[in-house]
Symmetry: C2
Subunit: 228 residues, 2 copies
Amino acid sequence: MSLTFRRGLTTMASLKKASKVVCIGRNYADHIAELNSAKPKQPFFFLKPPSSIILPGEGPVIRPRGVDMHYEVELALILGKRVRDHDASDLKGALDAIESYALSIDMTARNVQNEAKKKGLPWDIAKGFDTFLPMSKLIEKSKIQDPHNIELYLKVNDEVRQNASTNLMLFQIPRILSDTSKVMTLEAGDIVLTGTPKGVGPVVPGDVMRAGIRVDGKEIEEARIEIE
Amino acid sequence: MSLTFRRGLTTMASLKKASKVVCIGRNYADHIAELNSAKPKQPFFFLKPPSSIILPGEGPVIRPRGVDMHYEVELALILGKRVRDHDASDLKGALDAIESYALSIDMTARNVQNEAKKKGLPWDIAKGFDTFLPMSKLIEKSKIQDPHNIELYLKVNDEVRQNASTNLMLFQIPRILSDTSKVMTLEAGDIVLTGTPKGVGPVVPGDVMRAGIRVDGKEIEEARIEIE
Ligand SMILES: [Mg+2]
Ligand SMILES: [Mg+2]
Ligand SMILES: [Mg+2]
């Protein structure tokens, strides 16, 4: 672990003290197609409550009664500084604002979300149940030189369901930080989920989800999530 | 100020460190009618980011470009303990979980929200801009013996726009804490907005909003909000 990392503000436990978790929706074209959603002209986003976070070893994910629960594997950014009104063309500034990465699973009550969409109601219930945000260990920034060129995967019971490169993001990180921070000031410690590629689907009690990140084909140990 | 209050966890500054702000929608029948909304069979709710909070003296509210900005005056609960799976019939337990009250204005980008509703998108942008949650000073719990029987008001440029008793809430506080805490664990310090009565409307730069609470016809000093 590098000095830089150890000097950082964020520790695993402090993830749950994030002042907010901001999540980008529909950021991979192939995932938009599979949900029959409209392609957004600009990033849109929603919040998950920090109370939904579970850290490694804190599983399982609890399925609320009557809920069709879907996984969405996503790269998470942990910010190291306050960000406000970020310039969408500033890649270096965006990367500088990131303190570390993590892998995350944006668990979603799909039937609740679909009903909310139909009725024009908020998504916060569908996205915000306790245990609906499993996260990996923190990933030192130096291990992900280019966050727009890593591979995310998620398996259910050892069957690959999601597997895609982050180079498929519609809106890359500088644009994400720009659009979000023009609405709400992002604080040090805040968590930003960058969207999920295709392959989302249901899990039921007893299923085991395994997710990870590969960089240049090599697994990052800290990124592993294994959860029932 | 009583000993009880001074021993409390929450101070004004700590409001911004709330792990979440949970807001009930459509909780007054007359407000539902004015927005042509459907009456919910159960409370629904959404989150505002703590970054949207402004404390007394920190105004003005900033109107984002192109935004039709509406006020919604609401009674806010500040929780003093963790609440999970609260029993909807337990009034005493609900009141015990409250550490103090505040008055709040749930500022809303109405045109952004209307478009989100139409498209089935999240409300978080419409509700979450910086400065979109003006709050009053903390109100000692003893000053509000019955939170279901106080009067909320909001004036714009000295014209009364909202003025109603909290006895018009469709879902009272025990039910609110029950439904929300069955989805997401509420933490000590969390803020719960209980919905707005009729009379919501637009404000533009230069307008002055004044809001307050009356108990038995008497103004509570700490509850006053005055903001541009
Ligand atoms: Mg916090
Ligand atoms: Mg997602
Ligand atoms: Mg409201």
